[in-house]
Amino acid sequence: MAAFVLFSEALALGLASGPACIAACGPVLVPSLLTEQAGFKPHARFLSVFLGARLAGYLLFAAAAWEVGTLVSLPQASRVLLMGGVDVLLAGVLLWYAWSARHLCGSSCASSKLVQIGAAKDRRMAGAAALGLLTGLSLCPPFVAAGVRAAEQGSMTQALLFFVFFFLGTSVWFIPFIGIGCVARNQAVMTVARMTMALIALYYLSLGIAMLMGRKAYGF
């Protein structure tokens, strides 16, 4: 019964945090999906890999949270450094992604490949996975709240399960992203998507660098 209540709480927390999650992942996810071929299937595949990697990020966080008590107790400076590092990595992956997507064109090219990082065929989903993992490590307030509850559990398994249910709750909100498959693709859409990725990467890069330089955002 206690487990049922606990996991219901995780699911409810995930469901309630969903809008914050799609807001946080939207800047990364929307332009990445726009570089895909039109259609639901490629988008569903991309989203599955993205969410799977995001779950891996969650579990990593849950394990760390349980192991160290809670990441919230980390000193402010360390947390800022951690976030700065994640932001810089995210920027790097986005820039790499935008650059590598130049080889692809819209549905008119009838390319069967999904957007890939690098030219190797076996690495074509690496981009989605890297982006999912890095966004999964984001320390947004609901995520930290879930981290606190996970850290309070009696075992690491319970902590991990708590995050699995939290993940399931948030993932429901990602399903509408498959609808981006309806947007018609042409060279202009692909170019706009790549440019958007580069701009968002620059945002994360500047934020990450500022954090790594040890400054607190807005003096708070």
Binding site: A23, G26, P27, P31, T191, V192, T196, L199, A210
Partner: protein, 386 residues
């Protein structure tokens, strides 16, 4: 063809007699009087002088449009004046009220900054998902205020489409002035893919505004922060933000317009311009290319300050979606193949009538928004010299 690009060739246009031009100007003269001299305004002589000068200026420019049959060159006088006088009046008021041009970021988030239309597209997703306005202006506090401003903008947009960017925007004038300075463009070949950048800026800023729950464009990318209010820098992030504003202003508003003779900020960056382009689809006024007259000389393409014409679009007899109806191509076309047009009518149906109808609407907006800003700028100058 490309070498002719940089100087605006003016084709012979249908000129009108003085009396007829005066009669056609009369509605705008009355509108100017109504705008600048309604009861209860201008209690001090400086305001009266500024209002009189502005009313005369706006009316005279419209008269010249009617008299010469040209649009672009007269509109440019207005637009450049607006661009130059806006920061003067704005900064003066800001310093008067706040004592500084710097606004702390928390005040910006709380919506205690002056109104600006640029973040309007950024409101949509946060408002739709959370019913919260992330608007960096004082009207955000009142739902009536935001509703009336958005309603007014929507009404004007339905008529003008992207004409907003040539007759109402108070930011584009500086770069249009810069673009007018050199006789020839140093950079003539511009990759057409850059035209897509404003859409990317729009998408990135809409998504980041939702993620950060703040108007991301105002916080990170607005070049005009350099000549309006800037963010009070209290840490590294503040310094980076202000550095970005200044660099973007220098690059997009000063250096690139001088090098290309184009409105580069509007053409390659402004997210509001991209958003406004969508409304060209429903606006009743447009500029078309009459293929029966067109010799494909490319003069119109080179004259366009916004890169809104391409070989392909000319071949189809149309401008691109980004056309801001400034009239440069119509004025420049030696064959008079570029024409004003009202949707739903025959292409050959009285282009001058279409121009007139558009200009009445556009100039009324110009007097209402731009005129008041010009008058404010003049008052500030008079304050310092008298």
């Amino acid at each position: 063809m490309a070498s002719k690009a940089c100087t605006l060739r003016l084709a012979p246009a249908a000129t009108r007699g003085r009396l007829r031009s005066l009669l056609l100007t009369l509605p705008i003269a009355v509108w100017s009087l109504l705008m600048f001299f309604h009861p209860g305004t201008h209690t001090d002589p400086k305001s009266r002088i500024a209002a009189t000068l502005t009313a005369l200026f706006m009316t005279a420019l419209f008269f010249m449009m009617m008299r010469t049959g040209k649009t672009y060159r007269w509109r440019r006088w207005f637009f450049v004046s607006l661009g130059l006088l806006f920061p003067i009046g704005f900064i003066y008021n800001l310093v008067l009220v706040r004592g500084t041009m710097g606004i702390p970021v928390e005040e910006m988030i709380a919506g205690r900054t002056p109104f600006c239309f640029l973040p309007i597209p950024l409101l949509i997703l946060p408002a739709a998902l959370t019913r919260t306005l992330v608007f960096p202006g004082s009207i955000a506090a009142s739902s009536h205020g935001i509703a009336s401003m958005v309603g007014l903008w929507l009404a004007l947009t339905l008529v003008l489409g992207k004409g907003w960017c040539a007759y109402a925007c108070f930011f584009g004038g500086i770069e249009e002035g810069m673009a007018a300075i050199p006789k020839r463009a140093r950079i003539r070949k511009i990759d057409p893919r850059w035209r897509l950048l404003p859409w990317a800026v729009l998408l990135a800023m809409v998504l980041l505004s939702l993620a950060l729950f703040e108007p991301a464009y105002c916080m990170w990318l607005c070049p005009f922060k350099a000549v309006t209010e800037y963010i009070t820098a209290r840490n590294t992030i503040g310094l980076i933000q202000n550095g970005i504003f200044i660099l973007l202003f220098l690059a997009l508003v000063i250096v690139l317009p001088l090098a290309t003779k184009k409105r580069t900020q509007c053409s390659f960056f402004c997210p509001f311009g991209a958003f406004q382009s969508i409304f060209n689809k429903i606006s009743v006024f447009e500029v078309k290319i009459d293929r029966t007259r067109c010799k494909s000389c490319g003069v119109c393409q080179n004259a366009c300050p916004n890169l809104s014409l391409s070989k392909e679009s000319i071949a189809q007899g149309e401008t691109l979606l980004s056309c801001m109806k400034c009239g440069a191509c119509v004025d420049a076309c030696p064959q008079q193949a570029a024409v004003w047009h009202i949707k739903g009518t025959e292409l050959a149906w009285k282009p001058e009538r279409a121009r007139l109808m558009f200009l009445y609407a556009a100039w009324a907006v110009a007097v209402m928004f731009g005129g008041s800003i010009i008058a404010q700028g003049l008052v500030t100058i008079l304050h310092f010299i008298v």
